[in-house]
């Protein structure tokens, strides 16, 4: 039983079929002038158009296919910061961003940019007033995630974006890896300048993602070479990855109302079940957050212990975020949210998707309470990290 969909999802079989068919019938280089090349290019452009249409971004935005949100974030942030360095070197992000945003800003800081890291409120979201206070005439870039990957908190991107647009001339980047295909965000007519996401978070393939950016924005690329993707991302563009992403996005968007409603009932049940387990605390909120992500701190137990014990029952959850488990012993997100080191050290994440069934949720609820009690008993109290 898999409860780690925020880390990645299994590719939809339909998406795999598209990937295979494109590799069989449209494998030519889209830049080639011959007929196979033209066919591949037609497919690539149609996939691009479909992505923009599904994101409500057709009028004002374009789409660059990348290897995933990490690359999109790197391209967007480094590009936007560098392109506007002459105007100012102040950049803003929040304390709960994904490593692929956080680390890029840390790098920019080492290169001479001044970084303001905004705190989040009790829901895990950035307050507009806090953002307003941080904006300065030399602020050139603000990056705030749409849905947080560890606790599921949602930033009001439209409202925050409007603050940025009325108070400054900064570009607004949104890491939407946890929301695209799950929680709608219309881009045309809105304040978002740059949006990153990965296909594998919505039943697409790993190694595939996109950066959606406003038409008027041009960035220096990370990868130089043949000038593919309007010069923003050199390297032979893969029509199969692009088509698979477009297909996965269509399937996800078509089902997203239903998946959202179901996930919400599941989250309610799981949160209710944890209320009966002593010394556990929900990180984030039930209302106004992503129903797909649930985060708890379980006092006095190392999260790895819970993870291992559940794994023995073939129930798979995660600690912190899978992307940074190698180094982290605490969740920076939970720490920023609660200010509590102990809670940050003991957090686990349960994440759902459209594939999650009621039976799985039942099994999880029945197993986890006794299992936590048992672990506490055997481990005793003197747990160190």
């Amino acid at each position: 039983m898999y409860f780690d969909y925020a880390a990645t999802t299994p590719p939809n079989p339909e998406v795999l079929k598209t990937f295979e068919a494109v590799n069989r019938d449209f494998w030519a280089n889209p830049q080639a002038l011959h007929r196979p090349g033209a066919r591949a290019a037609a497919l690539l452009e149609q996939a691009r158009l479909q992505v923009l249409t599904l994101l409500g971004a057709k009028k004002e935005h374009r789409c660059v296919f990348t290897s995933g949100a990490t690359e999109s974030n790197n391209t967007a942030l480094l590009g936007a910061a560098r392109a506007n360095a002459a105007r100012g070197k102040h950049v803003i992000t929040s304390a709960v961003e994904h490593a692929s945003v956080r680390e890029v800003f840390r790098f920019l800081e080492s290169e001479g940019w001044e970084l303001t890291t905004l705190p989040v409120n009790a829901r895990g979201a950035v307050e507009p007033e806090v953002l307003t206070a941080a904006l300065r005439p030399d602020t050139t870039l603000v990056s705030l995630m749409h849905v947080n990957n560890e606790i599921g908190s949602i930033n009001d991107v439209d409202q925050l974006g409007r603050v940025i647009k009325t108070k400054s001339s900064a570009l607004f980047h949104v890491d939407a890896a946890q929301s695209v295909g799950k929680i709608p965000l219309a881009l045309d007519g809105g304040p978002v300048d740059l949006l990153s996401f990965s296909a594998h978070k919505f039943f697409g393939l790993k190694g595939s993602g996109a950066l959606v950016l406003k038409n008027r924005i041009n960035l220096p690329p990370l990868l130089r070479g043949g000038g593919q993707e309007e010069g923003l991302r050199s390297g032979t563009t893969d029509p199969a990855n692009a088509a698979a992403l477009a297909k996965a996005l269509r399937l996800a968007v078509e089902g997203h109302d239903e998946a959202f409603a179901r996930a919400l009932t599941f989250k309610e049940r799981i949160v209710a079940a944890f209320r009966d387990i002593p010394n556990t605390e929900l990180n984030g909120t039930l209302d106004g957050a992503s129903p797909f992500i649930i985060n708890f701190s379980i006092a006095d137990i190392r999260p790895e212990t819970v993870l291992q014990a559940l794994a023995e029952q073939e129930i798979y959850i995660s600690t912190v975020s899978a992307c940074s488990t190698q180094t982290a012993t605490q969740s920076a997100v939970v720490r920023a949210l609660t200010g509590d080191l102990e809670r940050a050290r003991t957090s686990i994440r349960i994440s759902l998707s459209a594939l999650t069934t009621a039976d799985e949720v039942d099994a999880l609820i029945q197993t986890i309470g006794p299992l936590i009690e048992a672990s506490r008993f055997t481990r005793g109290k003197g747990v160190s990290s």
Partner: protein, 411 residues
């Protein structure tokens, strides 16, 4: 605000004396054809305007369609009501408030087409203004009878009356078809579709001529031209654009085999003009047009234009000759051809670009070089073998139909 009627005001009518009715008819027919997609509209022609009763249709969508019709000066949006003073006063109130938004000042003007109406025009205006002044929220209305920003017009007719205020500028120009026809040289670049748009705006019906050099140019270049033609077809009254595709390979090869490289481009363009003249003649067209712009490339210097233009007696209009690239790009975006034009495929002009084209060619030299090969039959063959394709607005032709279907099934 929800509007009931669009009053379409006609442009440049005052220039036309006896042709006025022809002009209005042409415009009326075109507008009617373009609005056929809204079956509920009622469209009436009056002496100096066209009145569209929306009957629930979205005024913005209707105006967007009307933007495809040249010869319209502006649209006035308004509401409809019974022909009683009471009803007119009630209807005028929200219209006036809307008109005064952004601090605009207004005055009322009445035209009493129905003389049985108990008040005179002036009295009506006064009574309506009085009502609006008394009933509008404090500060919502600014009157300025001497120099209003906007005139709110009341039209009194027997069956119903109109209160009209908000004026939206339209595309302008002259109704297409009023000024005859022109053959547009359509390369696939940014400039020629914009030139075509401007020609149509001056009331000309257009046909296109495109030179193709397979295998040096690809099917994608032809697709590009089809897609551009489709965009332009929207502005034509019948919504269809004829494009003559010229098989140019043989002639082009002969040119570059016989003429020094530096003169290749000049002679090639002379041949293109000759072919265009031949096609124009066969179509009874007396005017050529193209997207040449002064100073952009070697063929667009005054000397070069002179040397090239010398081969034809037909007038050649170059609507974008004096425009900046930015202006051209702005129009291309407006007419939706920009994204098509920037697709990176070779056309005839870019296939054999000489390294050092002559920028001040001599006509005599062109003539001398042309004696070196027997071009006349090749030009004739180009005209004769032209492939004529009809492109309909809203129905783009995909050259690779199989691929299109396949792609749809995969995504």
């Amino acid at each position: 605000m929800k509007y009931d009627v669009i009053m379409v005001r006609l442009g440049e009518l005052f220039l036309k004396g006896k042709n006025r009715n022809v002009f209005i008819d042409k415009l009326f027919q075109t507008a009617k054809a373009k609005l056929a997609v809204f079956p509920d509209l009622v469209i009436d022609k009056t002496r100096d305007h066209i009145l569209i009763t929306l009957r629930g249709a979205d005024h913005e969508a209707v105006v967007k369609r009307l933007d495809l019709v040249f010869g319209i000066h502006s649209y006035a949006l308004g509401k409809i009501c019974d022909s009683t003073l009471e009803a007119i006063r009630e209807t005028a109130l929200p219209v006036a408030i809307e008109a005064c938004r952004d601090g605009n000042s207004i005055k009322f003007e009445t035209r009493r087409g129905w003389k049985q109406f108990p008040l005179t025009s002036i009295e009506t205006s006064q009574r309506v203004a009085e009502h609006v002044g008394e009933n509008a929220p404090e500060g919502a209305i600014h009157f300025n009878v001497a120099r209003p920003d906007q005139v709110v017009r009341v039209f009194i007719k027997p069956k119903h009356s109109l209160v009209v205020a908000k004026v939206v500028p339209a595309s302008g120009g002259l109704p297409v078809g009023l000024n005859g026809r022109s053959l547009l040289m359509l390369s696939g670049g940014l400039d020629s579709p914009v030139a075509g748009y401007l020609m149509m705006k001056r009331g000309l019906l257009l046909e296109g001529i495109h030179f193709e050099s397979p295998p040096y140019t690809t099917a994608r270049a032809r697709q590009k031209v089809y897609d551009l033609a489709e965009k332009m077809a929207h502005y034509l009254p019948r919504g269809s654009f004829l494009i003559h595709v010229i098989p140019f390979t043989k002639l082009q090869k002969e040119i570059f085999a016989s003429v020094p490289e530096s003169y290749g481009m000049t002679v090639m363009r002379r041949m293109m003009y000759r072919v265009a003249e031949g096609v124009a003649e066969s179509r009874n067209i007396r005017l050529l047009s193209n997207g040449e712009s002064l100073g952009q490339v070697a063929s667009q210097t005054p000397d070069s234009m002179w040397a090239i233009n010398a081969v034809t007696d037909l007038p050649v209009i170059r609507p974008v000759a004096c425009m900046d690239k930015q202006e051209i790009m702005d129009i291309a975006r407006k007419i939706d051809t920009y994204d098509i034009s920037i697709r990176p495929f070779e056309d005839c002009c870019t296939v054999f670009v000489p390294k050092h084209p002559v920028t001040a060619p001599k006509k005599e030299k062109c003539e001398l070089y042309e004696t070196r090969f027997d071009w006349a039959p090749l030009v004739e063959a180009c005209v004769e073998n032209a492939e004529t394709i009809k492109i309909e607005a809203g129905r783009p032709i995909a050259l690779d139909r199989d691929t299109t279907d396949e792609i749809c099934s995969l995504l």
